[in-house]
Amino acid sequence: ELAPAAQKGEAGKKAQAKAEKGKAQQAVNAAAPAAAATAVKVAALGRPALAEEIAAWDIDVRPDGQGLPEGKGSVKEGEEVFLEQCAACHGEFGEGAGRWPVLAGGAGTLKSERPEKTIGSFWPDASTAYDYIHRAMPFGNGQSLTADQTYAIVAYLLNLNDVVKDDFVLSKENFAKVKLPNQPNFFDDDRETTEKAFWNANPCMKNCTGEVKVISRARILDVTPDGEQKGNLE
C-alpha cells in the first residue's frame, strides 16, 4: 500500500507547523504577474559569436572559391603526401584498396552497367575535393592537413584523373579555373515534371497485369547476413 510517510509524518507535521510564513508571504507578493511572465524577448538567447570562433569552425569551401585559404601545392608534392597518408586505403593511384573508395578513373562508365563514380568521372566541382579532404581525411584524422598539403593532394588527384598536367600547381588563385568534365551533366530535381505519370488518382485495382513471373530472387544471390529464418508452419 502506498500510504503517506506515516513514520516521518510526525516530524513533518511539526516542521510544517513552523513553516516560515514570512518567506511564503514574500514569494506570493513577489510573483511576476502572468502577463509579464509571458513576454519573451527572442533576442535574449544566444551570445554574439567571436570572429576567432567562426574562423575555427567555418571550414567549408564553395565552388565559387569562398572559403579557400591562402596556399598552394603541386602534383608532385601531393603525390608524396598521398602516398604517405592516403594510399594505404585509396591505392597509390587512387584505384582503391579492397573496399575503400576509388578516387580516380571511371571515365566513360556512367552509362554502363557498373558506373565507376570518381572525382574525374563523376564529381561536378573540384572545390568539393578540397573541402572534403581537409574536412574528413585522412579517415579518422580530419582537419590535420595544412592548406598547402590539401592543395597539393587535390592537384595530385586532379592529375590522376587527367584533369591537370603533371607539373600543375594548384593555388587559391587558379582554383576557379579548374573545371571537372562531368559538371554539365548535373541538373536540378524535376521529378514533379518528368515523373508526372506517378501521380494518379485512380490506380488500377483489378486484373492490372497479365501473367506475373518471378524474375529475380534474393535467396539465389545469397548475400544476406545471418542467412534467413525458415518458415515454421504448424
Binding site: 502506498l2 514574500q26 514569494a27 506570493v28 511576476a32 535574449a44 551570445r47 580530419g142
Partner: protein, 400 residues
C-alpha cells in the same frame, strides 16, 4: 548573482569548447553497431526510474517512478515507464504463454500468443496509464520533493493490440453477463473486475508498446489496456478472463483502490482517472538555472477524454494564463503543454490546471480535501504547487 538582464553577455575570449575544435570532431567515434540495441548517452545516466524505499516492505511489491522531470514530448520511453508490481516481474516464455477466456460464454477458449497476433482488427492507440495511487503520498501535505515521486506513476505509450471485444465475441458472451475478471500470470496473480460495457468498448489485449514487444515489467508478452481507467486494472501478464454477472470483490478493489472519505464511508469502483496535470520543469529535480527566457513544460491528461485546455499560474493560483498545448492531444492520452516566460529572478509559485472535453476542471488540493478528506490515498488529482526560489531552487509546497 547574475545580472537581471536577459541578454547574454558578449564572450571576452574564444570559448574553449569552440577553439580548439573538440576531440569528438577530430577522432572517429565507435562504429554503427556498437550497441545492436541502443542505450542513452552516458551523460544521461541519472535519467532513471527511482524507488522510495520506505513506501513498502518488499521490492517485489513496490513501485519505481518515471523521471518525468527529465522527459519531454508526449511519449514515455519504454525503459522509463514506471513499474508497479505485487509479486515481482514475471518472466514469461512467449511460446508457453496462454490466454484463457471462460465463464458466462458459449465456448471457453484458449489462445496462444500467435493466435492473438492473428486476430483481425489489430489497432494502434496511445493512452496514459496512471496508477490510482499516483500523488497518494501528498494527501496530507507536500511530502516528496520531485515530480518523479509526486506524479511519476504515469506513462504514455502507443499500444498495438486487439480489441478485447474480439475475444469476447469469439467466445460468445451470454446475455446474463455483466462483469469480467481479468487475471495476471505473475506471482500475485493480480485480478480486477471490469464492467462488461468497458470490456466491450475500448479495452485492448496489447502485445506491443511504442513499436516493440511489451517490456517484461509491463506484462510481456500480453497486457490489458483499459483506457482512461486506473492503472491497476490494466492487468499485466494477462492469463485469464472470466465472464460473470457480478464483480468479484477482489483484494485490489476492496482492501485497496477504494477511496475512504472523511465520514468513514468508502467509495468503490472509482475507475475513471479524473483530469490532472503537473508542471515537470521547473520542478524540484529540474530547477531554473537562468534568468531571462525560460520554457515551462508540463503534462496533462484525463480519463474522460481529450485535454482541451491547460492554464498555468506563477503566483500560486491568483492569476492564470492559458498554456500552449503542443503535439497531439489524443483522448485519454498524456498531452504536453508549454508556457514560454521571462524570469527576472522573483520567487514563483507555479501551478497548472487541466480541463478536459467534458468541462471537468482539475481542482485545488483544498477543494479536493473538502469533498474527500485526507484519507483516500487514491485519486489525488489536486493542483500541484512548486515554489521557485530566487536562486532557481524549486520545492514541493502547498499553498492555502
Amino acid at each position: 548573482a547574475a545580472p537581471l538582464s536577459a541578454v547574454a553577455a558578449r564572450a571576452a575570449a574564444p570559448d574553449p569548447n569552440i577553439v580548439p575544435v573538440p576531440d569528438w570532431t577530430k577522432t572517429l567515434g565507435v562504429g554503427v553497431n556498437n550497441n545492436p540495441y541502443g542505450v542513452p548517452s552516458k551523460f544521461e545516466k541519472d535519467v532513471v526510474r527511482r524507488e522510495v524505499e520506505w513506501l513498502t516492505a518488499s521490492r517485489e511489491s513496490s513501485v519505481s517512478f518515471t523521471p518525468l522531470y527529465a522527459l519531454d514530448g508526449v511519449i514515455t520511453p519504454n525503459g522509463l515507464c514506471f513499474v508497479r508490481h505485487h509479486g515481482g516481474e514475471a518472466e514469461i516464455d512467449p511460446d508457453k504463454y496462454r490466454f484463457m477466456i471462460h465463464g458466462l460464454v458459449d465456448k471457453p477458449l484458449v489462445f496462444t500468443l500467435d493466435d492473438i497476433k492473428r486476430m483481425p482488427g489489430r489497432v494502434n492507440r496511445a493512452y496514459f496509464l496512471e496508477c490510482a495511487a499516483n500523488s497518494g503520498m501528498e494527501w496530507r501535505g507536500a511530502q516528496l520533493n520531485g515530480c518523479q515521486f509526486t506524479h511519476g506513476m504515469i506513462h504514455n505509450v502507443f499500444y498495438t493490440g486487439v480489441p478485447l471485444r474480439a475475444f469476447l465475441d469469439a467466445a460468445g458472451v451470454k446475455t446474463s453477463a455483466k462483469w469480467v475478471l481479468a487475471e495476471g500470470a505473475d506471482a500475485s496473480v493480480m485480478t480486477r473486475s471490469i464492467p462488461l460495457h468497458k470490456a466491450l468498448d475500448d479495452c485492448l489485449v496489447a502485445f506491443a508498446m511504442n513499436g516493440e514487444a511489451l517490456r517484461p515489467e509491463q506484462g510481456y508478452p500480453v497486457r490489458l489496456v483499459v483506457p482512461g481507467w486506473e492503472g491497476n486494472m490494466w492487468v499485466k501478464w494477462l492469463r485469464r478472463l472470466e465472464v460473470g454477472d457480478q464483480p468479484w470483490a477482489q483484494r485490489e478493489e476492496t482492501a485497496k483502490y477504494t477511496d475512504l472519505l472523511a465520514d468513514g464511508r468508502s467509495r468503490r469502483y472509482t475507475f475513471i482517472m479524473d483530469a490532472k496535470s503537473v508542471v515537470t520543469s521547473p520542478s524540484p529535480q529540474a530547477p531554473l538555472k537562468h534568468k531571462g527566457p525560460n520554457v515551462l513544460s508540463g503534462i496533462a491528461w484525463s480519463g474522460r477524454g481529450t485535454i482541451k485546455r491547460v492554464d498555468v499560474s506563477l503566483d500560486g493560483g491568483r492569476n492564470w494564463t492559458t498554456a500552449r498545448i503542443e503535439g497531439p492531444a489524443m483522448p485519454m492520452a498524456m498531452t504536453r503543454f508549454y508556457l514560454d516566460f521571462d524570469w527576472d529572478g522573483r520567487e514563483l509559485l507555479v501551478q497548472s490546471r487541466a480541463m478536459d472535453e467534458t468541462g471537468y476542471v482539475q481542482p485545488s488540493k483544498a477543494e479536493l480535501r473538502k469533498v474527500r478528506g485526507e484519507n483516500s490515498i487514491y485519486h489525488n488529482n489536486g493542483i500541484q504547487t512548486w515554489l521557485v526560489h530566487g536562486n532557481g531552487e524549486t520545492e514541493n509546497v502547498e499553498v492555502g
